[in-house]
């Protein structure tokens, strides 16, 4: 039998119709929806007199518009209309969904794993590019547009051309203070924001094996920033342990695990491309520019201007110049949140750098747990108190300032250390200047008022 990658195995298992090399009709095992990319899809169903084919494989939550300061007091009437439309749609079509402010509500890519719906072997889609997050469980998970949301609602299938296979091997063991966020930022900085276009990326290697499920999700989450809409990993014992006992975990769990054990890449499987990144000497990463590939290791000087339409434009927008270093950036804001880095482990790690200290004068720092379960768990161990005592704001769960569709926006021209995934122009607010980094780097920056190398802090304290 030919050796296969996990991606090949999963793809083949889900083909309903179509030939290789052409668009193939794939069956979708889990479709997660939220308020921003679904209204036009439901309207399309309504206009055509169609229903949701498999409400049992569909699941909804509210995240992008959710106000994180006062969740039930939505000031923005257009946001409120979108939230109300979602609530009306899921009710009309019978789709199970979290209620606004409900106990399972949160960022769509967090609540699917937390509920146990995300499992190895599934095909998972959502009208949001960070759906690749779910790939950390050994699933084919990718973001889709609203037409495709409508298509999945109506048919539970999707036409897709099979992407090529890329293997990315992370070797070595990172130094303390270097995290999975740094792995993925380093990868994108090295190979570019479009290096993964047309590929499904499989992350592998000892450095991946060592990570927790939450840390693995951070890497898969940012596959899209590498250009790949699919990023996945082989499931292992950590994966099974994460799913076990959750509300929607398989009823016959042992049987499920025995199936999942076959869902790994064969050792001699062939890839279209293989990249290797050694993380053993990696330093914490910080971005200086306006796409996630414009990043470098802490201490490195910002690069020369290579062209005026990309580099010069980025420097002008960020009000920085070549030859500067990350510690020169005058930070005014710190955002710890988003589907990349607002899980319990992220908040625990950030809290270590905050405990007993105080946010620098003149700097605003907010912590936004990604979901209600994370918020509840964090509060149970007193993390909220650590952050609040240090001068952080402790918010309600949601997408928050990652993209600021809610009131959470970074003020104009202010530099923000952000644990989110995108530093695009205007992403976090009109003329806001975003610098992507790990939760530890963001937390330490909030205290110091500027970026510092967290490796030096961990050796002293942890």
């Amino acid at each position: 039998m030919t050796a296969k990658t996990i991606f090949d195995k999963l793809w083949e298992q889900h083909i309903v119709a179509g030939n290789e090399g052409e668009p193939q009709l794939l069956y979708i095992d889990l479709h997660v929806i939220h308020e921003v990319t679904s209204p036009q899809a439901f309207q399309g169903l309504r206009d055509a007199g169609r229903r949701v084919r498999r409400v049992d494989l569909t699941y909804g939550t509210l995240d992008h518009n959710v106000p994180t300061k006062d969740i039930f007091n939505i000031q923005d009437l257009i946001s409120k209309k979108q939230i109300d439309t979602f609530t009306k749609n899921v009710k009309e079509f019978g789709v199970p969904a979290e209620t606004h402010g409900g106990k399972g509500q949160g960022i769509v890519h967090m609540v699917a794993p937390e509920s146990g719906r995300t499992q190895p072997g599934k095909t998972i889609v959502c009208g949001d590019s960070h759906t690749a997050t779910n790939g950390a469980f050994g699933a084919i998970a990718f973001g889709i547009g609203t037409s495709e949301v409508e298509h999945v609602l109506a048919t539970q299938t999707l036409w897709q051309v099979k992407p090529k296979r890329m293997k990315i091997e992370f070797i070595g063991h990172p130094q303390k203070g270097v995290y999975s966020k740094d792995f993925i930022l380093a990868l994108i900085a090295k190979y570019g924001v479009d290096a993964g276009v047309g590929y499904a990326v499989e992350y592998t290697g000892e450095a991946i094996d060592d990570l927790t499920m939450e840390e693995r999700m951070t890497i898969c989450n940012m596959s899209i920033e590498f250009g790949a809409k699919i990023g996945l990993m082989n499931p292992d014992e950590k994966t099974y342990d994460y799913v076990k006992g959750r509300d929607h975990a398989p009823k016959d769990f042992d049987k499920a695990v025995s199936n999942w054990k076959n869902l790994v890449s064969d050792p001699d499987a062939i890839y279209d491309k293989v990249l290797t990144l050694d993380v053993s000497q990696l330093k914490p990463m910080v971005t200086w520019g306006t796409n996630p590939g414009m990043g470098l290791e802490f201490g490195e000087t910002f690069p020369e201007i290579k062209d005026n339409i990309n580099y010069e434009r980025a420097y002008n927008y960020m009000d920085l110049k070549p030859g500067q270093v990350a510690s020169d950036i005058e930070l005014g804001y710190v955002f710890i949140g988003s589907c990349t880095n607002a899980r319990l482990g992220d908040l625990q790690e950030a809290a270590k750098f905050v405990k007993g200290k105080h946010v620098a004068d003149g700097l605003t720092a907010i912590v936004v747990p990604g979901s209600r379960p994370v918020k509840t768990a964090a509060e149970a161990e007193g993390l909220d108190k650590i952050f609040i005592d240090a001068g952080f704001e402790w918010r309600e769960p949601g997408c928050s300032a990652c993209l600021g569709m809610n009131p959470d926006q970074i003020p104009e021209y202010v530099h923000c250390a952000s644990t989110s995934n995108r530093n695009f122009e205007g992403r976090q607010g009109h003329n806001a200047r975003t610098h992507l980094c790990s939760p530890a780097m963001a937390a330490a920056a909030a205290i110091a008022g500027k970026f510092v190398d967290v490796r030096h802090l961990v050796t002293d304290q942890f």
Partner: protein
């Protein structure tokens, strides 16, 4: 979906690489529950100063490009957020095709679903197209997969199934519903 066969129009070059969907249609316009009306806010941050005052330095605002309906761009066009609102905004503004170095996978699918033809060309051809006069009508011939211009005729690739859907303006869901039997069989085998 509007059919696409042979289309003639003028071009406008916007040659940055990595133009992300946050630039094409910023977040504040994603709150609409309709598919129409996004064109006014296309490239909002680049196109306007305050309160819809046009930024005279942005190429889409140059008088000679007011009728352009073919956008020439760099690599990795439409990267970032999966928002189909980006394709809706480009179409609603009046663009019928994009000619760029490459596209993000999600944007590529989104634009095809809306009859907005994404054409990929190598850098040297993009530069020739970017140099065309704003007055020149070029022709995009989808059946023959050709871009016809005064500086040459350029072939482009497209998946034949997608090509057929665009030429005939077919509804994807309608097509898939013809596979109901296969879908049911799949479901029976995998329950």
């Amino acid at each position: 979906m509007e059919k696409f066969t042979v289309y003639k129009g003028t071009t406008v070059p916007l040659m940055n690489d990595n133009i992300d969907t946050d630039q094409i249609i910023p977040k504040q316009f994603l709150k609409s529950i309709d598919k129409k009306g996004f064109g006014k806010n296309l490239f909002y941050e680049w196109r306007y100063q305050k309160d819809y005052d046009e930024n005279p330095d942005f190429i889409l605002n140059y008088p000679e490009y007011q009728t352009a309906s073919l956008l020439i761009s760099g690599d990795n066009f439409g990267s970032g957020s999966s928002r189909e609102h980006a394709a809706w905004a480009l179409s609603d503004y009046g663009f019928r095709a994009i000619i760029a170095g490459s596209y993000s996978d999600i944007f590529y699918n989104n634009s095809l679903k809306n009859g907005l033809l994404p054409i990929t060309q190598p850098r040297n051809i993009l530069e020739q197209l970017a140099g065309l006069s704003s007055q020149e009508q070029i022709s995009i011939d989808l059946p023959h997969q050709l871009i016809q211009t005064s500086v040459g005729e350029f072939h482009f690739d497209i998946d034949p199934i997608w090509k057929d859907k665009l030429i005939n303006g077919l509804d994807d869901i309608g097509i898939t519903l013809q596979y109901e039997k296969e879908i049911q069989q799949y479901e029976q085998q995998h329950q």
